[in-house]
């Protein structure tokens, strides 16, 4: 049985050289060139990590769970790398770059003991690989978090409810209506109906690129929910091509629909008993005559 290498001793004896070699490695990889991270900052990170890796290499078995502090540090580091816009390989190279200097150091300490060096190298490689995988994983995770947050923001931004008049709301929909968005649209609309005690809601689908059977079903659901709350819905802004497609597909929207938002508003005003008066001409005309 070969003598196990004393990693803690190796690291403490060659600390500065390892750090220097590691930084050189990172520089060669181009991590610093982008200017996203400063030299001193990187060196600080290296020192902190080496201090944590030492005990990990010296004690932990290859398959034992990663030490809490080291894990936390790597997760935090990958997160900040992801936010700063580093690539995944640059992030994992931070860990992998430690390999060569470490192996160099152990070669110096155990000359002519090939079996010790080989054993220690294999051990260290396995551990560092796991750490590198951990960085990739957390890098990916924080990227995904960003994407999810953006999706949520887009969903909120794209479903505004506008008050057009006392008791008249408009929902200008833009983009594809999937079931998730329908849910958000429905909730927003119903909530606004309560807040403004609206009688009529106009759903304007000028910005909806395609209407298939599924989208139509979602629209109908929204209309049905509004009706249950005691508000009428008018659908407006169905484009000519879409109207044709819908008829060809056999999609039927059994709701009041108007060609444009203006027409829908005119109808809504008429429904709540308002008239638009042309102040230039003396006579007051009901809205329907002004169209």
């Amino acid at each position: 049985m070969a003598v196990a290498a004393d990693w803690a001793g190796v690291i403490s004896r060659h600390h500065d050289e390892i750090i220097k070699g590691w930084l050189q490695q990172l520089r060669d990889d181009g991590t610093l060139q982008t200017g996203r991270i400063k030299d001193a900052e990187l060196e600080g990170e290296c020192r902190r990590m080496l201090a944590l890796v030492g005990p990990e290499l010296a004690h932990g078995a290859a398959h034992s769970p990663l030490g809490g502090e080291l894990r936390d540090m790597l997760v935090a580091l990958s997160r900040s790398r992801a936010l700063q816009g580093f690539t995944p390989s640059e992030t994992s190279n931070f860990v992998l770059g430690l390999k060569l200097p470490l192996f160099g150091a152990i070669g110096v300490d155990y000359p002519d003991q090939a079996d010790v060096i080989a054993g220690a190298t294999i051990e260290a490689t396995r551990k560092l690989d796991r750490l590198a995988l951990l960085t990739i994983e957390s890098f990916q995770k924080s990227r995904e978090e960003v994407i999810i947050r953006q999706q949520r923001e887009i969903a909120e931004l794209s479903t505004p409810v506008v008050k057009l008049w006392d008791g008249i709301l408009a929902l200008p929909l833009i983009g594809t209506l999937d079931s998730e968005r329908t849910q958000v649209v429905m909730e927003n609309m119903l909530q606004s109906i309560v807040e403004h005690s609206a009688e009529i809601a106009i759903i304007d689908i000028t910005g909806v690129p395609t209407v298939d059977t599924l989208v139509a079903q979602h629209l109908l659901k929204t209309v049905a929910a509004a009706r249950l709350m005691g508000a009428d819905c008018i659908v407006s802004g169905i484009r000519p091509q879409i109207a044709q497609t819908m008829v060809h597909l056999g999609v039927e929207l059994n709701v009041i629909s108007k060609a444009s938002l203006a027409d829908a508003l005119a109808l809504a005003l008429q429904r709540i008993g308002k008239r638009v008066v042309d102040t230039a001409g003396a006579t007051a005309a009901p809205v329907e005559f002004l169209r």
């Binding site: 119903l190 109906i193 309560v194 009688e199 929910a225 009706r227 249950l228 709350m229 005691g230």
Partner: protein, 128 residues
Amino acid sequence: MDRIPILKMGDALLITIQVDMHDRLALALEEDLTAKIAATKAKGVLIDISSLEIVDSFIGRMLDNIAAVSRMLDADTVVVGMRPAVAITLVELGLSLTGVKTALNVERGMLMIQNRLRGLGDFSGRRS
């Protein structure tokens, strides 16, 4: 057993549901209401469900039934004050209560019933 009170206001009956509806309570309400419509010759029924937070398919169907029964006895049913969450639930359950008239609040519901009583015809709640 608890019963939901049915108040008479002119030619309309007013029902305010302020407790969670369980199935037996709903059935009792349907029976009571039918008897009351027959007894008072009411022309409109207003059901306020603004305090109702939980609905299931049974309650949804019950509302539909009440409306259908009332219509047979020549009274129109208006359901008022449905909460957004309840509306979404009913739609997701596939119950859009097509036979039931709806209004946002009691005031508007009453207006709808009065319009009908005054013979304004189309029962749409439009101001005239």
